[in-house]
């Protein structure tokens, strides 16, 4: 009784994305924390950036690598994951164009505490941490915007701790689906399609459960017509009910 068909995700065509100076400038201006910067200064920041193109599944940096660059997603998606010695992995964040990653801190650990990998082909800007800190020192609005984003991430992260500590897996997954729907969802014939390759293992790594359990729960949601899902994709049919499940 499955409604599955071929992958409905639209693959971004970044292959011939040349990342010219002008294009980079335009993208930089779209980044939330550079939005207040006058064009002239934006141009200056731009000079300090390097653009790189990655294909799907490439590793941008590894947990433990020396951390000297701050990065910004220009196009595509990136996931941040931490790996344990035993090979288990925990998915820490899924990033969109405009999001920065790589720690903006200079003190303490100067190695990355997580691994960054592209989930789709992607274009990434890099700027030396020292240069970025200089920009923040010169333009407080940039520093404040970065602080606000970091604070939001801290709050999200704490909410996740709360969920891991108090909610059963079903509610955690329901909540994750709603969150992903809000962030990556696009209206579609199938409902709210999550525009992101999303495997059962990814879901499990986000919810702190096993792929088998994630699969069972997704099957149940599908039976209840809350979602439609296939290999590496999920669409939400009844967000309100998922939200109710996650909260109740």
């Amino acid at each position: 009784m499955s409604d599955k068909r071929e992958t409905p995700l639209s693959t971004p065509s970044l292959q011939e994305h040349h990342c010219t100076v002008d294009l980079r400038l335009e993208k930089l201006g779209m980044v939330p924390f550079f939005q207040d910067l006058p064009e002239e200064q934006l141009r200056e920041v731009n000079k300090k950036c390097t653009a790189n193109h990655y294909s799907k599944g490439e590793t941008i940096y590894r947990q433990g690598d020396s951390a000297t660059m701050l990065r910004v997603v220009v196009a595509g998606n990136v996931k941040l994951a931490a790996h344990t010695l035993e090979g288990e992995s925990v998915l820490l964040d899924m990033l969109q164009p405009g999001d920065f990653f790589g720690n903006p801190t200079a003190r303490g650990r100067d190695v990355y505490s997580e691994t960054a990998e592209t989930q789709t082909s992607a274009c990434i800007l890099s700027i030396r941490l020292s240069d970025f800190r200089e920009v923040m020192n010169r333009y407080p609005s940039v520093a404040m915007a970065v602080l606000d984003i970091t604070t939001d991430r801290l709050n999200e992260s704490r909410q996740r701790i709360q969920h891991l500590s108090t909610l059963p897996v079903t509610k955690r997954i329901a909540h994750i689906l709603v969150t992903l729907g809000n962030k990556f969802g696009e209206k579609d014939s199938r409902g709210l399609l999550i525009q992101l390759p999303l495997s059962r293992k990814d879901l499990a790594d986000m919810a702190g459960t096993s792929p088998a359990t994630a699969s069972r729960i997704m099957s149940q949601f599908q039976n209840d017509n809350l979602i439609t899902s296939g290999r590496q994709w999920v669409a939400i049919n009844n967000k309100a009910e998922l939200l109710r499940i996650s909260a109740k």
Copy 2:
């Protein structure tokens, strides 16, 4: 075979702490993110602060309260906890003198996402968020210091997510004990005494487990001579072994 005696924690005597202007100024200068500020500007910041004294167990603010003030611990300890609708609680952070709390962000949620409660009697400085943001705008070094601390907290928080997702309770508690020992430990005849009222329920709320399970694990650690513990206090006898347990 217990080595228990009366509470060995030293109770800070803040009762007659008057928080005079001079004393406040001295304390402000000790706060990490004001350290780079010249005395003159410190004096100016000081004028915008209010000092308050709280006795043990008082609530400073509640989850959901409108968030207009940023706070700094001058003396004593404060714990941040989130509460679920069902009454379960999750302990998010334990604060020391010099730590700030209450979200330093203006956008989005302008209500506190956690409850702040004193664990000992405490002296707390408050400054209006808008005033603090103005200070950060004027003195980038303050903004940068706040950003660095927030980033550290985000990393700690993500590590905790990883532990909740991948480690069994015993390892999580061993890790928490080591961390608390490093942060709040004081050398003592009993070993490394954690200078903080710390119940089994607190430990459980930090480890995402039940008080009963926390108690069983602490009993086991005590049998193995790794810790000495009584009602609301814990001393670490063998930090190296606890660390080994948490990592292995």
